[in-house]
């Protein structure tokens, strides 16, 4: 089963981190990714540039605007996809994500776990 992990960042939190903490955290995230790669569970992992654009129909034309995250404190900073045996395992991985602890007591800095749809289905 594949799961998409959306990692939410929070500008305020990141900006308030001392440089040493940030270095430690980056090291921890690298080790986290490496462990998932070594276990054969990491499908892919990408960072996102926080310069999202949104495309919506306005009247009968698709209009490109800034956002939707530009004004928000939280934004999707990166994502990764895992292929694991169970939802419990996916949640265990999510709980062990190193940057999670910096969100404690404040708003933001969380993770969303989305099951990915598959191309196959059983008999109905």
């Amino acid at each position: 089963m594949k799961y998409l992990m959306l990692i939410y960042g929070n500008e305020e939190i990141w900006n308030s981190l001392p440089a040493g903490d940030l270095t430690t955290l980056i090291g921890e995230v690298d080790a986290f990714n490496e462990a998932l790669r070594a276990s054969g569970e990491l499908v892919e992992s990408q960072g996102l540039v926080s310069r999202a654009r949104s495309v919506r129909m306005v009247g009968d034309a698709p209009v490109v605007t800034d956002g939707p995250y530009l004004e928000a404190k939280e934004y999707v900073g990166s994502y990764f996809v895992v292929d694991v045996d169970s939802e419990e395992r996916a949640l265990e991985i999510a709980r062990s994500y190193p940057a999670l602890r910096f969100g404690s007591g404040r708003s933001g800095g969380g993770l969303e776990v989305w099951p990915l749809m598959t191309g196959t289905g059983g008999d109905l």
Partner: protein, 375 residues
């Protein structure tokens, strides 16, 4: 129905078991009864498994100059399906080491990057070393539970390959065919094991419906609407023969009962003419052999066909607090029963909710269409 079965048991023991080609329930139930009566059935099975698991040539003195061709299929399967591994690692290793697929082929089949699959296989081998797993038959008392794991892995490979949609974009290694091939080899190796034969029969009888399962746009066609002339008759005949033989010679088990249910469907000329009381009876037996919420849910469908939607809905209600709560299959069954009860609005709501939660694209499309029909 349960009482009817018990009554039938008594009659059969008094009058002997009647022979009827379509009477899967009768055969299975009688077999089950025989197994229960025989206090030593389990011991016999263990003994037989031990004999089966011994290479044939090991039972005979080797000819003086011959080097016997060694078939290490069992040792390999037991190793690849070692309990120290998770299911995805067991599946990957089995396909690599027993199925002979390349790592890129396995990666393509599971839609993950080649590196991911290569790592998974490396890690699995490492795990086996750490667990002290050995390339040898497990000691006798462990053999039966370990064989159960092997059968489950083959079943997982089959299910993974049982893709609802095909076409150039979804071109995959044919996992279904791989699973059938491996199970066939295992059956040749353990011909007396009823559950190995039962699993092979289940695969063949299920795969026989493959050509009718998808429509021209790759959409899912439910069992009731399938064009049964497109079912693969030779696969049905082979599955039926395997099952008949297994049921007359070996103790009955969950795969044989599931194969018997598939056989009842295979024999029915149309959905309306399906012998639902028989399907229901088989699900009742399956529930006793291998209880689980998914089995109960299937029994609810059969119960709805035999005793009417209200009875089915009552049974589904009992499942609503269990592990299937919020599962799209449970909602789809409830939608189906509500629709048959004439409650169109409630049914449409359930179909929509089931569609929202479905994890597979073809199923979601099917469920959305079901909802749309009622609006």
């Amino acid at each position: 129905m349960q009482e009817a079965l018990l009554a039938a048991f008594e009659t059969w023991t008094a009058d002997g078991v009647p022979e009827h080609p379509a009477g899967w329930l009768r055969t299975v139930a009688a077999r089950r009864y025989v197994d229960q009566v025989r206090a030593d059935a389990a011991r016999q099975r263990r003994e037989r498994a031990a004999v089966d698991a011994t290479p044939r040539d090991a039972l005979l003195a080797p000819p003086p100059d011959a080097e016997p061709a060694r078939d290490d299929l069992l040792e390999l399967l037991f190793l690849c399906c070692h309990p120290a591994l998770g299911p995805s690692a067991q599946v990957a290793l089995t396909l690599r080491a027993v199925g002979g697929l390349t790592t890129p082929e396995i990666a393509a089949a599971f839609l993950v990057p080649e590196k991911t699959m290569a790592q998974r296989i490396v890690r699995a081998k490492q795990r086996l070393r750490e667990a002290g797993a050995r390339f040898a038959l497990p000691p006798e008392p462990e053999r039966e539970p370990r064989l159960t794991v092997v059968l489950h892995v083959l079943y997982l490979i089959f299910n993974e390959g049982y893709a609802a949609s095909s076409g150039p974009a979804l071109r995959r290694v044919d996992l279904t065919r791989q699973a059938v091939r491996l199970t066939r080899r295992l059956h040749r190796r353990l011909p007396a094991d009823g559950e190995v034969a039962g699993l092979l029969a289940l695969m063949l009888l299920t795969e026989a419906r493959g050509p009718a399962r998808t429509g021209p746009e790759g959409e899912l066609v439910p069992l009731a609407e399938q064009d049964r002339t497109r079912w693969d008759r030779s696969a049905i005949a082979e599955g039926t023969a395997l099952l008949t033989h297994a049921l007359s010679t070996a103790p009955v088990g969950p795969y044989q009962v599931q194969a018997a249910i598939a056989a009842v469907h295979a024999e029915a000329p149309s959905a309306e003419e399906t012998d639902w009381p028989q399907v229901l009876g088989l699900y009742e037996l399956l529930e006793r052999l291998a209880p689980g919420p998914a089995v109960t849910l299937n029994r609810a469908v059969a119960l709805g066909m035999v005793r009417g939607p209200a009875a089915g809905l009552d049974l589904v209600r009992e499942l609503a607090d269990g592990p299937l709560a919020g599962h799209h299959r449970l909602l789809a069954v409830r939608a189906h029963l509500l629709e048959r009860a004439g409650e169109r609005e409630a049914a449409a709501r359930e179909w929509r909710e089931a569609a929202r939660l479905a994890g597979s694209l073809p199923e979601r499309r099917f469920l959305v269409r079901q909802a749309a029909r009622l609006m």
